[in-house]
C-alpha cells in the first residue's frame, strides 16, 4: 500500500490532471468505506467521498512539487474524509428547531442522538443486513465517535497506528487505548445481541 503512494506522488507533482484519475481509482474504495462506516448511509458516504477527492484535488493543485512528493497519501486522504464525515454528521444532527434535549448536561442527549441517527434502511443496506456484516456495521455506527473513528481507520481501512496519529492528530498511545476500548464495547454489544436472539428462540 505504501508502494502505491510512492508510485503516484511523483506523477501528482508533475502532472496533477494526468494522474488524478489513478489516485481516485486507487483510493475510492477506502474513502467510500471509511465514510460509509462512519455515517452509515450509502448516499451520504458517496457524497462525502466525492467531496473529499475534490478537496484533495484543490489542495494538491495549490501545493508545490516538494510538498506533494512528501504527502503521505493514505493518512492524508483519510483525514480529509474523516473531517468531512464529522461535519456531515454534525449537520445531520442539527435539530430543525431549538431543542432543550441537546442541552442536557448528563449525556442523555448523546444517547438520544445515537438512537435517532441510526441509518435509514436503503435497498443496498437492506441486502447487506441479511449477512452478519450488517450486524457489525450497525454495532459500529452505534459506537461513540471517539471510538468509532479509530476503529474504522485501524480495522476496516487497515491504517497503522502511526498513520492514524498522522491522520487524526492524536498520540498513538491514546489511539491504541481507544481502539482497545472500542473493540471491547463492540464485543459486549455483539454478545448482548446474541443473548437476545437466544432468548427469543427459547421463549
Amino acid at each position: 500500500m505504501e508502494q502505491m503512494d510512492d508510485d503516484l506522488r511523483p506523477g501528482l507533482a508533475r502532472d496533477l490532471d494526468g494522474t488524478f484519475e489513478a489516485l481516485v481509482r486507487a483510493h475510492e474504495g477506502r474513502l467510500y468505506t471509511i465514510a460509509l462506516r462512519l455515517l452509515g448511509d450509502p448516499r451520504d458516504a458517496e457524497e462525502v467521498a466525492q467531496d473529499a477527492f475534490v478537496r484533495a484535488y484543490r489542495a494538491i493543485a495549490s501545493y508545490d512539487a516538494p510538498r506533494i512528493r512528501e504527502l503521505r497519501l493514505r493518512p492524508w486522504l483519510a483525514a480529509i474524509v474523516v473531517n468531512l464525515a464529522r461535519n456531515r454528521a454534525t449537520r445531520r444532527r442539527q435539530p430543525p428547531s431549538v431543542s432543550l434535549d441537546h442541552a442536557a448536561p448528563d449525556g442523555s442527549a448523546v444517547a438520544d442522538r445515537l438512537t435517532t441517527s441510526a441509518p435509514t434502511v436503503d435497498p443496498a443496506i437492506a441486502a447487506e443486513r441479511r449477512e452478519s456484516a450488517a450486524r457489525w456495521a450497525a454495532l459500529l455506527t452505534g459506537l461513540p465517535d471517539r471510538y468509532r473513528t479509530p476503529i474504522v481507520l485501524r480495522h476496516v481501512d487497515g491504517l497503522s497506528f502511526a498513520e492514524m496519529a498522522d491522520a487524526l492528530g492524536r498520540p498513538e498511545g491514546t489511539l491504541k487505548a481507544q481502539v482497545h476500548r472500542g473493540l471491547a464495547m463492540l464485543r459486549t454489544a455483539h454478545e448482548a445481541g446474541l443473548r437476545a436472539e437466544r432468548q427469543e428462540m427459547t421463549a
Binding site: 481509482r25 474513502l31 475534490v54 476496516v156 473493540l183 464485543r187
Partner: protein, 272 residues
C-alpha cells in the same frame, strides 16, 4: 444460568468481522468525481431559437455549446479537441438550466461559470466584453477591440469570437462587422446569427439597410446625444426626432455628444 460477565467472543473474531466491512466504491463515484474537478465533462440537449443545442459542462463551468448532432460524432470531436472524456446526461443540472434560460432571456447579471482553461487572456477579454452587450443590441468588432484596449486588434477580435466555445451563453452573435453588416457566425453560419438577433427583438434587415445607406449613428435632436443604431437609447427616439449621421465627426460638428451607454465612438478611428 448463563454467566454474562465473561466474554465468550474472542477480540480477534471482532477484528476479523471489522476487516470484512470494506466495500468497493459505487461505480458512479469516480465519474462524478472527475466531472466535479473538471477532468471529464457531461452534456445534454437544450432548445434554442436555432433548434436543439448540446451544452457541455463540468465542475468548473460550461465548457461547450454546439448545434445538436449525432451524439457519437460530438463525443469524438469533443474528446479530440478538448482531450477530456464526455458522457451524455439526461438533462442539465437544474440550476445551470435556469441560469442559461435567464441569460438567454436577457438577464446579464445572472452568473454562469465558464470553463475557459487553455484560452488566452485576449480571448477571455473579448468574450467578457461581448457579455456586456445588452440583449437586442449589437456592437462592431472594432468597438470590442477599442473597449478592451486593443484598438488595432480588430481582426483578432473576429477570430476570438469565431473560436468562442460557448456561443449564446457568451453572446458573440451581438458583435457585427464594422461596416454594419451582420457578418459570420460560428454556430451554424450567418443565417443563424440573424435568427438569434431577430429572436432578441432586433431587425437585422433594417439594421443592414441603414448600414448600406452609410448610416452608422442615430442622434436625437431633443437630447443632442448620438448612439449606435441598435442602442436602447437610439431605439427610443421618436421618428421625427431621429437624426442620422455617417461619421462621428459629423455628429460632433453638429454639436451632439456620444451616448454613455453604447459609447459609439469606441473603435471609430480604426473603423472609419
Amino acid at each position: 444460568m448463563i454467566r454474562h460477565d465473561r466474554p465468550t467472543v474472542d477480540l480477534a473474531e471482532v477484528e476479523a468481522a471489522l476487516a470484512g466491512l470494506a466495500l468497493p466504491a459505487p461505480p458512479t463515484l469516480a465519474p462524478a468525481t472527475l466531472l466535479a474537478v473538471g477532468l471529464a465533462d457531461a452534456y445534454a440537449e437544450i432548445a434554442s431559437p436555432i433548434g436543439p443545442l448540446f451544452v457541455a459542462w463540468n465542475g468548473r463551468g460550461v465548457s461547450a455549446v454546439v448545434a445538436a448532432e449525432e451524439p457519437s460524432e460530438f463525443e469524438e470531436r469533443f474528446f479530440a479537441q478538448v482531450g477530456r472524456p464526455i458522457r451524455r446526461a439526461e438533462a442539465l443540472p437544474a440550476r445551470l438550466a435556469r441560469a442559461i434560460d435567464r441569460r438567454l432571456a436577457g438577464d446579464r447579471r445572472i452568473r454562469i461559470d465558464l470553463d475557459l482553461r487553455g484560452r488566452t487572456d485576449f480571448e477571455r477579454a473579448v468574450w467578457m466584453k461581448a457579455l456586456e452587450i445588452p440583449r437586442g443590441e449589437v456592437r462592431p468588432y472594432a468597438w470590442v477591440a477599442a473597449e478592451i484596449g486593443r484598438p488595432r486588434a480588430v481582426r483578432a477580435v473576429g477570430s476570438a469570437l469565431a473560436h468562442n466555445p460557448v456561443p449564446l451563453v457568451v453572446p458573440c452573435h451581438r458583435v457585427v462587422r464594422s461596416d454594419g453588416l451582420c457578418g459570420e457566425y460560428s454556430l451554424g453560419g450567418p443565417d443563424n446569427k440573424r435568427t438569434i438577433l431577430a429572436a432578441e427583438g432586433l431587425d437585422p434587415d433594417e439594421l443592414e439597410a441603414l448600414a448600406r445607406r452609410g448610416i452608422r449613428y442615430i442622434g436625437s435632436d431633443t437630447t443632442r446625444v448620438f448612439c449606435l443604431p441598435s442602442c436602447h437609447n437610439a431605439r427610443r427616439i421618436q421618428p421625427r426626432h431621429r437624426v442620422p449621421f455617417r461619421t462621428a465627426g459629423e455628429s460632433a460638428a453638429a454639436g451632439y455628444r456620444a451616448c454613455r451607454d453604447c459609447r459609439p465612438t469606441s473603435g471609430r478611428a480604426v473603423a472609419a
